[in-house]
Symmetry: C2
């Protein structure tokens, strides 16, 4: 699908303005105006990934790689619009941010389901291996096929069914989204961005000081969010702070939200540094990985609790799901412990 001309792509009330800095798609990075250059680079990467996604046909690995690239570019554009919002057409930027978030959520969910299932089945396998070892150790009493190991097998089958179904639904939803007028509008807006960035009248994206101040605000926001975390408690191992029965709330355990927020702000700061051509901050990468693990374990725990709400499951299945939920919540606690350690090491440096 060819991007429509800019006129139709822009929301009402956001007149075109001649871009500052190089405007041609794929133009070489201009040291004078890093924000424009970065936005245009990422917009171009978005359009390339979109083409790759269309051309990947039935090759699952190619499709996944293309979607990964598409989401990466979407995250970067979204984060840059967020960081440099004061320079941009506010309404236009806010709208596009929302649309990019919608898109990467829709496209990512299919793969998130697959990874969640892998994590949960892996955890069940480890529990059953331990069970098997135990049974081998005491053949007389091990009852390797006792009710609880049976429950673990059934819990695995149940999670497989539910998360495979969710994955297939997410796959169709992604296909529908990519064919929707809403998506075409997003693609067009990104195409506009690749050729011309709608700055606010009087904005000075070429002023290194203004740009530097806006970028540095991401560090301040991150520092505030981290200051709000219970890092001291997370520093004491086995504090049981993350343990829970299993939230029925769509967002999972509310206690996880401040940690997810820090994860997001870390990413925004990385992209802001990227935009200014700064070297990637190697020292904060371990913290980011710990928070990725925090997020995955939290989502896996929520999936285990959701499976336990399935009507008419056998008690041993429910029991195994309870064990699984608690084990994933301990992973959440462990990830917080790792984050506080690597983060404190990083800032001590």
């Amino acid at each position: 699908m060819a991007p429509r001309p800019p006129e139709q792509a822009r929301p009402q009330g956001t007149p075109v303005r001649a871009p500052h800095g190089p405007g041609a798609p794929g133009a070489p990075r201009s040291p004078g105006d890093p924000v424009t250059a970065y936005l245009q680079e990422q917009a171009a990467a978005f359009l390339r990934a979109l083409r790759a996604r269309r051309e990947s046909g039935t090759s699952a690995p190619e499709t996944e790689a293309a979607v990964h690239a598409l989401r990466g570019a979407a995250h970067r554009v979204e984060a840059t619009l967020h960081t440099f919002r004061p320079l941009l057409e506010a309404e236009w930027a806010e709208h596009l941010q929302g649309e990019l978030n919608w898109l990467s959520a829709v496209l990512g969910s299919e793969y998130a389901c697959a990874h969640r299932l892998g994590r949960l089945l892996g955890a069940l396998r480890r529990l059953r291996d331990e069970e098997g070892a135990r049974a081998a150790a005491v053949p007389a009493q091990g009852h390797p096929e006792g009710p609880l190991p049976m429950g673990a097998a059934r819990a695995g089958a149940l999670l497989d069914r539910q998360l495979t179904l969710a994955r297939n639904r997410a796959h169709s939803a992604a296909l529908d989204a990519l064919g929707s007028a809403r998506f075409h509008a997003v693609a067009d807006a990104v195409a506009v961005l690749a050729s011309e960035v709608p700055y606010r009248r009087g904005a000075s994206p070429y002023d290194p000081e203004v740009v530097g101040v806006l970028a540095s605000l991401t560090s301040h926001r991150l520092a505030d969010a981290i200051a709000a975390l219970p890092l001291d408690r997370a520093g004491a191992p086995y504090n049981a702070e993350a343990s829970a029965l299993g939230s029925a709330a769509p967002g999972g355990e509310p206690q996880d939200a401040p940690w997810h927020r820090v994860r997001g702000l870390l990413r925004v700061r990385v992209y802001a540094a990227e935009a200014l051509g700064a070297a990637p901050e190697a020292r904060t990468a371990p913290g980011a990985r710990a928070l990725d693990r925090h997020r995955e374990a939290a989502d896996a725990a929520t999936a285990a609790a959701a499976a336990a709400r399935t009507p008419r499951i056998a008690p041993p299945t429910a029991y195994a799901l309870g064990v699984l939920h608690a084990v994933q919540r301990q992973e959440v606690e462990a990830a917080r412990h790792t984050f506080q350690r690597v983060w404190r090491e990083a800032v001590r440096v």
Copy 2:
């Protein structure tokens, strides 16, 4: 019940021999022969506690205190017979050790059930409080009375029923035991001990070197048992080594046995030092407490898994018991982590 004369108390084939060291009950501690003095002290303490238990009547606290003192003396006599076995009538000592172990197990089980129930209900309460906090945080979505919190309430009721029943059975078993001929024989054997310790012909309990060597063997046995523990793995928090589905084996998880063994050897060494009048080793006390916690959490996890095997329980109940089992196994892992830390600190001193 008055102790019968020694003749009837001793098993066949263990002729009485004149004790070395002071033989009269309640005799002052003899520096020349600490083993005899200690055995007689503890035997006297055993008989005093027995009297206190009989006289405590219906006062639960007094009864518990008396049973506690009785088991303390039994443990000390048993450990001393074990440590100094080469000096003693082997057959007699081995028999009495077995009987003292039987007795303290029978008398302790009632209180163990009560403490186990308290631990499990406390853990459930913490999980439900977290649930309540969550629900309050998101009243719209919290579903505070959703299936899983309901399950936690029912799991608490189920554990209350099962462990209270077990406690009452243990109580009657203790009463039966105290009225049994088997118990009278134990009491008589301890009464003999209070007046005269049956040493092996030619044994030299008064030889400080011999006694010192035997006592030091307890430290070697302990060191070997600790060397066999996976302390390095326990040193890495959140190693998930203790996580399990829930053993149906009577002894609980076989992986816990080496830790329970160290717990026992620590106690034996403490009593050996006590016997020689050495100052109590304050530096190993934290390790001993960590292994007590390890034992309690392991037993509580086994009780949760056993409750989950109850026929016809509701799935949310089974789910909550699964969470509870995993949380107690995390306590087991945490206790191992604490043990390796305090132990390594202790030996570093």
